[in-house]
């Protein structure tokens, strides 16, 4: 047998399919579960999507089939590599996965004509390493990675060093399996910028982590399921995502989220249009729609993640002041300044990093 074709060889023109948008007024939208507004009375109704249909006549097939970046990638990889239509026109993926898809040329450039509202993007997000001019992607919502702790169990934990070494936390700490979040925070603690991490810096940070694992300080590496351990008191403090904590605080006011002194990691989930999408234009119109401040405000008020659209906060200050005040949804300038993004890795270093990282988190 011979090897599989290198995926990046696909020509940009080949990426596009005949756009059926005008004939076929639909758009297939894949998103994560519970990542969109729902009607108070009928949870099957998504008001913002309905309004989109009213405005444009385009109906949205909304599917919540993205549970995990890696899982999703595994699922669509073969088709995208083979140049097949994956039957989705828009999909929402985290920065690093978006970076991978862009690098692999498995997603299409947006037509600027159709996404005029792109101008409303939060300024700190206009330039990202993986998509310098936001030609391919637009953020759907953002998350911060920082430290969460259960006030009932422990006092404030404000630095990664405390988290990884304080003896009263031994066995009661979790970190995220997500490499960029856990390693990013350690890199910041070490005084390195995750956006420009070197192999040596990475190894140094990994050694710190390894020590914490070996000493039994770290109980588990988790996906989203840390929330439960944290609320149940099994875990005193952990590396956590802001969005979850907003929701957890509703359950349990003892849970606190802090951006570590050395800085936090910020990541966004981005809307992307895969190659061969049959309704590219409709997809672009949808993206454009969610960049109207009013729509963005309605969405943010519901999902409680960082809103990437300028102007939404102002609208909410009137309609829902407590949301507008929530730092975890609308971080202040000061906070935003302390947030960093992780370097967009090339294929080789991504594999090297994740392999090394895997050996530490799964000894």
């Amino acid at each position: 047998a011979c090897g599989t074709e290198g995926a990046s060889k696909t020509e940009a023109e080949q990426a596009a399919a005949t756009d059926l948008s005008d004939k076929d007024k639909v758009v297939n939208f894949s998103n994560w579960p519970l990542y969109i507004d729902v009607d108070e009375n009928d949870e099957k109704v998504h008001p913002t999507l309905d309004k989109f249909k009213q405005q444009t006549g385009i109906s949205v097939n909304y599917v919540e089939d993205i549970n995990d970046n890696d899982q999703f990638f595994g699922k669509v990889r073969a088709d995208l590599a083979a140049g097949n239509d994956i039957k989705r026109d828009v999909m929402v993926l985290t920065d690093w996965m978006a970076a991978r898809l862009i690098r692999l040329k498995w997603v299409q450039k947006l037509d600027p004509k159709n996404v005029a509202n792109k101008k409303n993007i939060e300024p700190s997000l206009t330039e990202v390493e993986f998509d310098a001019a936001r030609e391919y992607s637009l953020p759907w919502a953002g998350i911060m990675a920082g430290i969460a702790y259960n006030e009932k169990v422990t006092g404030p934990v404000t630095s990664i060093t405390d988290l990884l070494t304080r003896s009263d936390l031994k066995g009661k700490v979790t970190a995220l399996t997500e490499l960029r979040d856990t390693m990013g925070l350690i890199l910041l603690e070490n005084g390195n910028d995750p956006a420009s991490v070197t192999d040596a810096q990475f190894d140094e940070a990994l050694a710190t982590l390894d020590a914490a694992v070996k000493s039994g300080q770290i109980r588990r590496f988790t996906g989203n399921d840390y929330t439960q351990d944290l609320a149940a008191g099994n875990v005193a403090a952990c590396i956590a995502w802001s969005g979850d904590i907003v929701q957890l605080q509703a359950d349990n006011t003892d849970i606190k989220f802090v951006t570590p002194e050395a800085g936090g990691i910020r990541a966004n989930d981005n809307m992307l249009i895969p190659n061969k999408a049959a309704h590219k234009k409709n997809a672009e119109l949808l993206m454009n729609y969610y960049y109207e401040p009013a729509v963005a405000a309605e969405l943010a008020a519901y999902v409680n993640y960082i809103c990437p659209v300028v102007g939404a906060k102002e609208i909410l200050e009137k309609s829902a002041p407590e949301v507008a005040k929530n730092e975890l949804i609308f971080p202040t300038e000061a906070t935003l300044a302390r947030l960093h993004t992780f370097k967009a890795l090339d294929d080789a270093s991504e594999r090297a990093f994740s392999d090394k990282y895997a050996k530490v988190i799964g000894a």
């Binding site: 919540e64 509703a250 359950d251």
Partner: protein, 292 residues
């Protein structure tokens, strides 16, 4: 030698007709306990199995303060009165049920045939077939799922219900083969010989004698198949196209907090299964009474 396989202790020979005997109450109690020790252990095992279901059930009545349903907040029937309130959940449930039913049917038929061949026939290639049956079980699910996906992509097969059916039958089949084999091994071959002697063709022998006698094994195997298929996430995720099965839905929901409706669904599935069995039991009893 034994001809009747149904004769067993305590079925119709025991129990109900025993005389009341006068024994000191304490020693009677002790000896009663001793006699039923195994039953107690069995029931304890069942309790172990059901414990999480009880928790799931209890938390289906929770009204979580936020999105996360794992700390008791307050009693509410909201989730029960609005089971399908969560967008897409009931669709995914229905999809999973349909899928599990057809996959169980397919796997049970194919697996039972295989089991029969492996136990009852000596043919060239029997040993390799025996081993081949174990291989899918020994394959990590990611590998199984992604290999199938690669195959479907290469073959230009669009992902959807069919590909899910194919892959579920594949991984359930091995479980059926092993379970049915365990039943078939040691079944008295003379009963089948007697059937053949009484003009039953191989098919009729199977239908009238073998099948009823192997039925407990087949029922057990299909129960396993159903729960495997219904509960599968990984292989399904690879091959579902843009369909969302119930486990996929739960997995996704877990990223942002599992709503109590999922507990309701869990509880309903549990009680539904129980209800169906009780109903079937009641019906056969009633019809038996009717024919008497």
């Amino acid at each position: 030698m034994t001809t009747a396989t149904e004769n067993r202790q305590g079925e119709w020979t025991g129990g109900g007709h025993r005389a009341q005997r006068t024994r000191p109450p304490l020693s009677a109690a002790l000896s009663w306990i001793r006699e039923h020790l195994v039953t107690f252990a069995g029931l304890a095992a069942l309790g172990y199995l059901l414990l999480p279901v009880a928790v799931v059930f209890v938390f289906s009545f929770n009204d979580p303060a936020g999105n996360f349903n794992f700390a008791w907040h307050e009693f509410s029937l909201d989730a029960w009165t609005d089971v399908c309130g969560i967008g897409g959940m009931c669709d995914s449930l229905w999809l999973s049920i349909r899928l599990a039913l057809v996959a169980t049917l397919g796997a049970t038929v194919l697996g039972t045939l295989l089991a029969f061949a492996l136990v009852r026939h000596r043919f060239r290639g029997r040993q390799p077939t025996n081993l081949l049956v174990f291989l899918p079980m020994a394959t990590p699910e990611v590998v199984l799922g992604s290999s199938l996906l690669a195959l479907f992509v290469q073959g230009g097969v669009g992902r959807g219900f069919t590909t899910l059916f194919i892959s579920h039958v594949l991984f359930c089949m091995s479980f059926v083969v092993v379970t049915v084999k365990a039943r078939l091994q040691g079944m008295d071959p003379r009963l089948e010989q007697a059937a053949a002697d009484l003009y039953a063709t191989p098919y009729q022998t199977f239908r009238r004698v073998t099948l009823p006698l192997v039925l407990p094994g087949i029922v057990a195997a299909s129960l396993l198949s159903f729960s495997l298929s219904f509960d599968d996430f990984i292989v399904t995720n690879f091959n579902s196209g843009n369909l969302v099965t119930f486990p996929m839905f739960v997995f996704g929901a877990n990223q942002r907090g599992v709503p109590p409706q999922i507990n309701v669904i869990g509880s309903i599935m549990f009680f539904l299964a129980l209800f169906l069995v009780l109903a079937a039991q009641y019906r056969t009893k009633a019809s038996r009474r009717a024919t008497k």
